[in-house]
Symmetry: none
Subunit: 406 residues, 2 copies
């Protein structure tokens, strides 16, 4: 079976944009044991789009097209698909009604260009789009299937998951079974030295290690669930508490889950991470039950006023010090009346470093029912990476404490 | 003129490998004013390669193929090209002699599989490869040109520069100049209805519209700086204050810059965005000079205690109300002693919505020297998208006020 993905967008033909949609689709199809045969990028305008659709219909059993369903004049996938198939575009009033409803909800009139999105290829099934105005389209043409998906990544994923995936699951083949183990607290090489003798020697299993700031993921694949679980079990044993979850698990969601299970509450106090820790926690649906709130005390006055940090301490030890971190954590906990207080202070860079206190230096403190613990870290990388690694370690301190392993 | 790049390699169809060869070729062709029309990735094996070559010959005036010229059995580009063209492969002894010479120089006998590399498509011109054993091939077929290049990046570049570039320079057109205009505050279709008559009608200019949550970018390209600036000027005029910057400009950096220019300071109070606004502001290096700090008042008690919001107001109007947003903004401003206070309260979802106050409802308030203004929005999308759009609009309220246009 030939499967083709076509990404539509002139910007994707430049060198500045990564075609993340096609990578996402590749990954999901791969999970179904449906490997992609060809991946194409073509511009919105000019003769390339229709020609590519025509050729894809000739070549591939299943073609997934991403992009070009927007309301604007450079969104021509609808027209090109109709033309490649030799079909008409038909106006569907129920789509227009749904688009108008979206705008009404936001208290705005529907702009005229959005009308275009109510036209679909004759005979297409409509794939509802919960995230935007452009519905997807599933078109059968003889023994070929052509699927049109909106281009914005959140809309594409949403339509793919709700409308395409269910239709594909019947085609899934016994492919490799896969799993992911997510870890934090070990660098890639620390992790590597713990597991290097476990790399599979035969082709019936594959192990790949993927590092990102503050996280190392292990991707496992095997020809059977038994072989997969055997390898996964050994890896988990070696990595111990560093393993915090599986595929798609975010550390913040794990922490919110542990807090909920324990019936405990949390408050944060952030200097160098500037709100990222609170942002990550509040990304988790339902976090309001355990996260009472946080302070972004960027200036020293805010640390004194809102967290009760002793100005003399800041004077003598500095705002970036273990003592300040401890006082911030205790202050946030006392102030919010939470069970836990988690605080960070450091130098995210690029400026502000000294030989004594270099860029990347971060103190993290956790205040809880049994007192305050603190850690000192020096992270490398740019400002955003230092912020990310800091928030990751802070979450992990709390995770390990809640698990009772630290 | 249609130009296609085909990258050959099953590994490039996975998500782990980046097709750097095609990006390199895109860049070099772009410099010559020869924009790529289509980019394709296809595996080494199976029917996809020959079909893609056949379709490329049908579609493109010039096709550059990278990879599949190696000595091993999975290197099949030679065979596939010959077959797609309906030509034979011919053995060229002088290529074999040159390959043997390379091995002799390294004091090694030539492995038998390398013989395969001495076969070329009938009628092809040989493109010498100074870096490896596989020569490139330039094939003319009617008014089509098909160029085969080796896959290893250093070999591909070497053959491209010595053998392909000189042949292309005759085709070169004055290179395109490019610019980007970034806007916020208008939806894609609102923007569209303002500019739809400005879409260039000739090929000397290209306009592409790209939307992401809370932002719409315009990508412009033209054959001359004068034509580019002419189009850019008209677009900027139509979009007015919605334009906040150019390529790579983030709204938070623009706002921090405006605050710095004005010598003003800012404090934030966030409920539904949960720290994202503060996080974005503190992503900007040097933001500590203007951002004093923020409150993430997730619970009502925090809103009362830290921001001085009247509990009776929360009782009567609710925590998600214009009145609460106004009180939060004023509270943050007074508390931090800043010139501006920016506050958000809303329902990020997925839970917590009612028919009165649906998911996505967000109130944003800005307190400043001349009083407090507030806006009501209903954003659509998932939790992270609602958070992003809310923080974007909050930043934009401040930007517009600092520019004196709102």
């Amino acid at each position: 079976m030939n499967i083709e993905i076509i990404a539509v967008g002139t910007e994707l033909l430049s060198t500045r944009f990564k075609d993340t949609n096609s990578l996402y689709l590749t990954e999901r199809l791969d999970e179904l044991g449906l490997p992609v045969t060809r991946r194409t990028i073509v511009g919105d305008q000019g003769p390339g789009l229709e020609a590519s659709l025509r050729q894809a219909l000739d070549f591939a059993d299943l073609t997934l097209v991403g992009g070009g369903l927007g309301p604007t004049g450079d969104d021509l996938t609808r027209e090109a698909a109709a033309s490649a198939l030799g079909r008409a575009l038909v106006f569907r009033p129920e789509i227009l009604a749904s688009i108008e409803g979206r705008f009404r909800l936001r208290g705005r009139p529907m702009p005229e260009p959005n009308r275009r999105q109510a036209w679909i290829v004759e005979g297409a099934e409509i794939l509802a789009n919960a995230e935007g105005t452009a519905p997807g389209q599933w078109i059968e043409a003889g023994n070929r299937s052509l699927v049109l998906l909106p281009g914005p990544p959140n809309e594409m994923k949403s339509v793919f998951e709700s409308g395409v995936l269910p239709r594909l699951s019947g085609w899934a083949r016994p492919g490799l079974v896969r799993t992911v183990i997510r870890s934090t607290g070990l660098t890639e090489s620390e992790l590597e030295s713990r597991i290097e003798d476990l790399y599979p020697e035969s082709e019936d299993r594959v192990l790949t290690v993927l590092a990102s700031p503050g996280r190392v993921d292990l991707h496992l694949a095997a020809v059977s669930p038994v072989l997969l679980e055997d390898l996964a079990g050994h890896l988990r044993e070696r990595l111990g508490a560093a393993v915090y979850g599986g595929d798609g698990d975010d550390l913040e969601a794990v922490v919110v889950g542990l807090l909920r299970d324990a019936g405990s509450t949390l408050a944060t106090a952030e200097s160098c991470t500037g709100g990222l820790l609170a942002h990550r926690l509040t990304n988790v649906p339902g976090s309001s039950r355990v996260f009472l709130g946080g302070y972004v005390t960027y200036g020293n006055e805010a640390k004194v006023r809102d967290l009760g940090v002793d100005p003399a301490l800041i004077e003598s030890r500095g705002a970036v010090s273990e003592e300040a971190a401890r006082a911030m954590a205790s202050g946030a906990r006392a102030r919010m009346g939470s069970d836990w207080g988690l605080a960070l202070t450091g130098i995210a860079g690029p400026g502000g470093g000294t030989s004594d206190k270099p860029v990347g230096l971060v103190y993290i403190a956790l205040a809880g029912p049994e007192g305050v613990t603190a850690e000192r870290w020096v992270f490398s990388g740019r400002r955003d990476s230092v912020k990310m690694q800091s928030s990751q370690r802070a979450l992990d301190m709390l995770r390990l404490r809640l698990r009772g392993t630290a």
